[in-house]
Symmetry: C2
Amino acid sequence: MADDAHAGDGEFVSNDIARASSVRSRPLPLRDATVGQGFWGDEQELVRTQVLPFQWCALNDNVPGAAPSYCMHNFRAAAAQNRRRTAARSQGDRFVPPVYTDRGFNVLPDDPERPDPDRFYGFVFQDTDFSKWIEAVGYSLAHHPDAELEARADAAIDIVCAAQQENGYLDTYYILNGMDRHFTNLKDHHELYCMGHLIEGAVAYYEGTGKTRLLHAAQGFADYVASVFGTEPGRLRGYPGHEIAEMALVRLYEVTNERRYLDLAAYFVDERGRAPLYFEVEDRTRAKREGATYVPNDNQPMPYAYYQAHEPVVDQREAVGHAVRAGYLYSGVADVARLTENERLADTVRALWRNIVDRKLYVTGGVGATAFGEAYSYDYDLPNDLAYSETCAAIALVFFARRMLELEPKSEYADVMELALYNTVLAGMAMDGKSFFYVNPLEVRTEAVRSHDARFLHIKDVRQKWFGCACCPPNLARLVESVQEYAYTLADDGGTLFTHLYIDGMAVVHVLSKDEDDEDVALRLEVESGLPWNGHVRAVVHVDEGDGGADDYGDGHDGKISVPFIFAFRLPAWAGDQIEVAACTTVPAEAQGRVNRRVRDGYLYLAGTWRDGDVFEFDFPMPVMMLEANLRVSEDAGKVAFVRGPVVYCAEECDNGSRLHCLHVDAARVGERAENVTVEPFDFKAGAEALDGKGTGGVEPVSRCMVRLRVPAWRDEVRDAKPLYSRWHPPVRRRVEAVLIPYFAWANRGENEMRVFLDIS
Amino acid sequence: MADDAHAGDGEFVSNDIARASSVRSRPLPLRDATVGQGFWGDEQELVRTQVLPFQWCALNDNVPGAAPSYCMHNFRAAAAQNRRRTAARSQGDRFVPPVYTDRGFNVLPDDPERPDPDRFYGFVFQDTDFSKWIEAVGYSLAHHPDAELEARADAAIDIVCAAQQENGYLDTYYILNGMDRHFTNLKDHHELYCMGHLIEGAVAYYEGTGKTRLLHAAQGFADYVASVFGTEPGRLRGYPGHEIAEMALVRLYEVTNERRYLDLAAYFVDERGRAPLYFEVEDRTRAKREGATYVPNDNQPMPYAYYQAHEPVVDQREAVGHAVRAGYLYSGVADVARLTENERLADTVRALWRNIVDRKLYVTGGVGATAFGEAYSYDYDLPNDLAYSETCAAIALVFFARRMLELEPKSEYADVMELALYNTVLAGMAMDGKSFFYVNPLEVRTEAVRSHDARFLHIKDVRQKWFGCACCPPNLARLVESVQEYAYTLADDGGTLFTHLYIDGMAVVHVLSKDEDDEDVALRLEVESGLPWNGHVRAVVHVDEGDGGADDYGDGHDGKISVPFIFAFRLPAWAGDQIEVAACTTVPAEAQGRVNRRVRDGYLYLAGTWRDGDVFEFDFPMPVMMLEANLRVSEDAGKVAFVRGPVVYCAEECDNGSRLHCLHVDAARVGERAENVTVEPFDFKAGAEALDGKGTGGVEPVSRCMVRLRVPAWRDEVRDAKPLYSRWHPPVRRRVEAVLIPYFAWANRGENEMRVFLDIS
């Protein structure tokens, strides 16, 4: 797309736009971006009404039939220990907490009916169940006040804060099992991960409610960590085994403006993977202390790649290892690169991004192809039926993408962010919000799932109610509840608002007056979006003046004040290579010569002076795309996938019959531009009701309007009498229409074969 | 193929042929079938000159760089213990052997340089290293006398026999670790598997040399086992965890004519899988004795399917579990069914056979599709790149197939036996006899093998020198050295010789005189075979009279005696559906009206009176077949494989370039009858030399004449600049010729991509 300035009479010139397109930016403050009705409003409501209450019960071990979390149990036990310490001290006694020796990765009570009230149970990272919940609650309360929920959250926060140690440490696993061993197993024991999630939760709750109690607790933990780790003599030169602390600390820095948190994040990024490798040193030390033999972890060429600690971060160029950890790390690195203006680190994340997007990304926006290590596989290894593609890994990719946007506004980042959001992330949750996928395959054969063969153990064809290791559902909850934070970023100079995602709702920008005496004005952008089902977007500018007038803004002909500002709107890649800038009209601003426009890096920059009532109208083309994978992806050879707008489609058995490998897209009839694919609005529930016998399998589909595709196809006729191998004959085929539904809606109508990539013929 | 009698003047009538086609049969005595020069002569020589000497070194821990076997070490240690017992007893003392408590599945010395001479090392089944070697040696000595080898074998037998306990027990694992626990873990501790292999080895050595020492030792072990197991009160109602004893005991019965061995085999078959399940009872008992909690093995729906013990054998209809165990069990069941005339068991093996051949067989004759449990997967699950297809499982299928032939002569059994032999079995060994595959995938991508992803850990693209768990190489050695035992069977009534495989060599049948006073005559069938490269087979009849004349045989016109007999020759399925009976001419017998012919169940029965010099000439068509898999096999959808005669072909990278998924067979140019495929004789070494740069990778290919195919094909041009996903365009392709080599010859020219199934377009 050519960068093309459109002359106008506005006061902004190309130089301003050039500056705006190289600027760094940040999401809007939590309360300044809101989601309205519509697609994301529905998703947020689902999370608010279904997931958050369920999650609260899970935290408190109140879900009948589900494995207890023991999360709040652990915080209560740690708080009780603190009370006993205080009581002892008040008596002048020294309090010696019990030390337990069985400190497994996941410890359960001997008698599930009678857990010891003083013991730690669950996974080493069980504390994060609370942190993720409180984070989602914070986002929810920002826009949907709920006194009962807030009271419940405050009470939980009281318990959590009561568990904190005097030095600020706050991980109940070590508090309850013995502080003598804390920070001795960073590689596998998630303490800094717990800190990271606590910070994320605390910041969100602070931003959502203005309350600081949990924020201070999180700061206390971070301050303690900052005093223990670092390159100074006597400190531990460690870093997190499971990353998240890096980006969390940056967030803490941005909300508190305390530089030490950014420094700690930068230290964690810088130290990671340097020789001598801390995780190895730690393993050796632990073995020595326990009198055990240290066994080097050398059964693989890069044993620490799982942790992204195989080489210094700044040198990393390939996305490797556990995909959630990787995504969290890369997000933190992008943050640190942006805030410390570290160009080498910026090059690192650009290279890692390129590696992911060019070689390791599913067409559904999923990443982490292999179940072994829940990890990025080798370049171009993207199996469909064995995909891991964890929901959390797609969420981590969304985090990473937005941070790349903050670093530099290029629409590719937003394209991938949107792809992951609408497809793999949403596929992680059932349409009724009550069950979840951890793993998001692109092809499911029910007989494989039922075979109990270990190849397929990670693949489910029915979403599960909740998980013992419950990372994906609450992670999904916190992302959906804060999706508006991914829709917009505001340039650091305050002069440009980037719209990355088109979501019904509102974004508010406080434009500072140039004159100290004047009041600021607020520009409100009110967005109505047809996405993901059509490309019509309408955004109305509202100018809210402060009480004291706004004298430095010029008056228009109609007496309205005019606010100079740049709006930058993403031109989505799915709208095709040839999006006309004419897809956007700006009335009446352009007619009145108040606007300059220019396209840069996939954004349409509209620099002008804006008046209340100015309107942007976009009509993004939303053609059906028949996509093929790069030929290096052997799994997708001879196959195509269908995409329309941000939505990836799939074929399900209940629409297309079983043996989806016998369904072949008729490329000749489809046409290169997929012009013969029928785009058909339908109600998901009605669509399901119309199905034949195999149908819904007892599942009650949710009523929801969406768009499905009807694709010219062939179907091989299975001849029952055929032996296992026989002389090849031209296939006996009949013409059919393949019915494709959005990938995110799959597995909402019972057990089901499913395919994203379909054979072509 | 119609059963079609061809009238003649011979004295045999249709009824005789009908009887012959429903008769049961047995392989020829070891010395009565020989392999001449040619394809199998070369293979046997490779085993004799390369594998057997290497194996002997391995048994004795004399292979530099390889993990020691400790096999002969263990026998020596057990023999020493016996000597100490005898010495103590001669002094009137009671000998108490040491009891060790660490009895792992695979125990290695703390210091590999100084193994304790009195301790057991290696896998629980390490004794079988000897048994497999001695079995192959027995076969070898039958036809290739070698005084040095025989002396070495006799010395080894002396050591093994010296290790035997007085009661006949002979498994060094329990002898050395403590007899108090013997027969307490049949499920996983392989004692009866060791007995089975010992019997197989002992019988072969007896048949090959006439020496009985090891045979008597094996009988002693079997007699002891027979006294311990059974349904009688006070006996253990157990059976082998890893089967083989069933078919071994049948073999022992057939060589000794002692009914008790057949009874024991029949008991093992009958008891297996009955409730209460012995393996569960055993686990409970062991847990109780050890004061441990019994944990039911219920993480799978059929936890004992791995052992084929999930239901009574007679009820089994699906091939499940560990594929080698399954093949050995089914072989034993077929044996027992034949010898006890148990029609229900015969139906069982027929059903299991159908399940394998119709749903679970690779086109290469491999079985056991999944690495998890080295097991049969679910119906039609035949992954190419993740195939397990263990060499030993194909060998077990060969065993099973021949036993089905013994039960009923149907050519389908021989077709599958031949397919497994020429393809998966032979692929297990490098062309220089020095390295081996355990796993035989049908598709290999080198980057997957090098990825260290656990999905591919079982897949190698270079054969290994030897294995710690060395089952496949010696198993392959014993099968190749006895391949003639699979070529022929003789009907139980002595009146029909079945030729199942066409191998250069000789089969001798001793035709009993009807008159007690007369000498028997020997019919010798001398076979010259073009297989596997062409279908021309010539077999000459020799009639060898005994010393005292053969008066009961009529004289022909030329003064030669005429011997009434039926020759039955398999009509291979690969010769096509339309094999003309004219593919066989019998001169001069047919011209002289001495022969009746009839086709039944894929065999051409030639009933007649035979004279010295009669000749059979076969000219089996050997068309190239382009095969497709049943549409239920999703992995093979849109793909074809090439077969010619018994040989399955594959494409290798060094002939076709990398990215074999970009190579598409041009079906239109190939033609439905594959008439445009070029069949090209070539020398494997010269063929390798002609390759370009990537070539042999430092491997010195062996000179060997074979046939390769040139197949009209397309190749997708990889456009480097393409993104990971892009709008589909009709592929840019160029015409190429795919060069296919025999599957058994793959991976003899260095690391290499390989595919059996190729995409079709």
